[in-house]
Symmetry: C2
Subunit: 260 residues, 2 copies
């Protein structure tokens, strides 16, 4: 028995999220497990660094699984990619110590949210960006984001009702890049990029829908629908109804997972 760590990317558009479900085989974990079970002839549990919601993408999800096969790492990688659908791709594999667990050992995760702030997205990127047509005030969004940095009880930003476990998490950084060129109609600027505002959020862990609710709240601040200072009160009141809307999964991707 050996423990393997993999890095994979996926286009989440067609999937019901990471976690295996009884009602559908359209989950990332389910697709990976099916291929590994076919390969090894035995049930295999694949542990992800975290569950991505339905429709959320991954640039570099980390997962691990334990199997007993007489194959090299490259052979396992080739086998997996030969049988996985074309929107899931495993691009690195390495044997790791048996105690390694991709979720329990993760020390930091970064999610990236892409907003196209124009009338329409570039057709080639349309499944990976959320279109916000009204102009966003990025400075207001940065002011709002500053209130979220540090250790807080993020209960108000949790999409799961009756969450029993701790909702205390630490956000280490929120970076908001403004890649717009002010040509508001153009789906692409001269470098053929979308007119984008890209939000990268790093922290030690995230509650269900937390990134999407944070981004929804920052968008409301950027549109002048709420004051940046309102974040302070949202955190204090710990009530979901005070925070902003849960923005679409379309623009969201798990970008990086760090380990010690």
């Amino acid at each position: 028995m050996k423990n393997y760590k993999i890095l994979l990317q996926y286009d989440g558009t067609r999937y019901k999220g990471w976690q295996v479900q009884k009602s559908t085989d359209m989950t990332i974990q389910g697709k990976l497990q099916a291929v590994l079970e076919k390969m090894s002839g035995c049930p295999v549990e694949v542990h992800g660094s975290g569950r991505t919601d339905a429709g959320v993408h991954a640039l570099a999800q980390v997962a691990n699984f334990k199997i007993d096969v007489s194959m090299t790492e490259t052979e396992i990688l080739d086998y997996m990619n030969a049988y996985l659908p074309e929107d899931i791709f495993v691009y690195e594999i390495a044997e790791v110590p048996m105690r390694f667990h991709s979720r329990l050992n993760a020390v930091s995760k970064t999610y990236r949210y892409r907003i196209c702030n124009a009338k329409r997205a570039n057709v080639f990127e349309r499944k990976y960006v959320e279109v916000i047509t009204e102009p966003l005030d990025v400075e207001k969004m940065r002011e709002a984001a500053a209130w979220l940095i540090g250790e807080h009880d993020f209960r108000a930003f949790c999409g799961k009702r009756n969450q029993k476990k701790s909702t205390v998490r630490t956000i280490t950084e929120i970076l908001i890049e403004d890649n717009r060129t002010k040509e508001n109609y153009k789906p692409v600027n001269k470098e053929k990029r979308n007119e984008e505002v890209v939000i990268s959020i790093s922290g030690n862990g995230f509650l269900q829908n937390m990134v999407r609710i944070i981004v929804g709240t920052l968008v409301e601040a950027g549109l002048g629908k709420r004051e940046p200072e309102s974040i302070k009160e949202i955190l204090e009141k710990k009530d979901r109804s005070n925070a902003g809307y849960t923005i679409s999964p379309r623009g969201l991707a798990l970008a990086e997972v760090k380990y010690d």
Copy 2:
């Protein structure tokens, strides 16, 4: 009655090509005409700079149409984008002289073909690149391409049997960019790009399937399946059977159309 020139981009994956067909409404021209007919209440003919094949994309297709409506250019643009499917986007509009015709007045067109020369494409770009897993010798491809530059009878590179009109065309440039990093397994390199070989072909006009047959022939030269010099003979013999295969439309996009 006014004549309008538009610039549009489309993801050709779902479409049966540019040209309107009786058997399907899934054509780019058909979708544009349907929206303009709805807008103006009259039949409208949209002239494209050229017909793209089924599955071929466009970064900057040019088209023109004559209509009589009391709307500003921006209003027409907004109307079109509101009713067009999300994989077709009109990003520029301008009134032009009545004599302007997007196909007849075009002096040069550039098509771009993207090959991912690795075991698999980045999942987010997979519909826009053709995967060639065996390593390509780009120098051999450039040698082969050099034979095609200039005015030639491209009958051997025409996909249409019994073509009656002239098959003489001029290719002004074939640029082959090598963006590979030699990490053959990776779908993306550190800059998050595919391991790509990108072929840009410019000329005064192209026959049916001509770009795809040229790229297929260059790929055969890059894989060592034919000598670069064989292009000379293909041109001389003017027989389709001597040229290479018609590569998939997936990697092809109309990139630019120039006018005087």
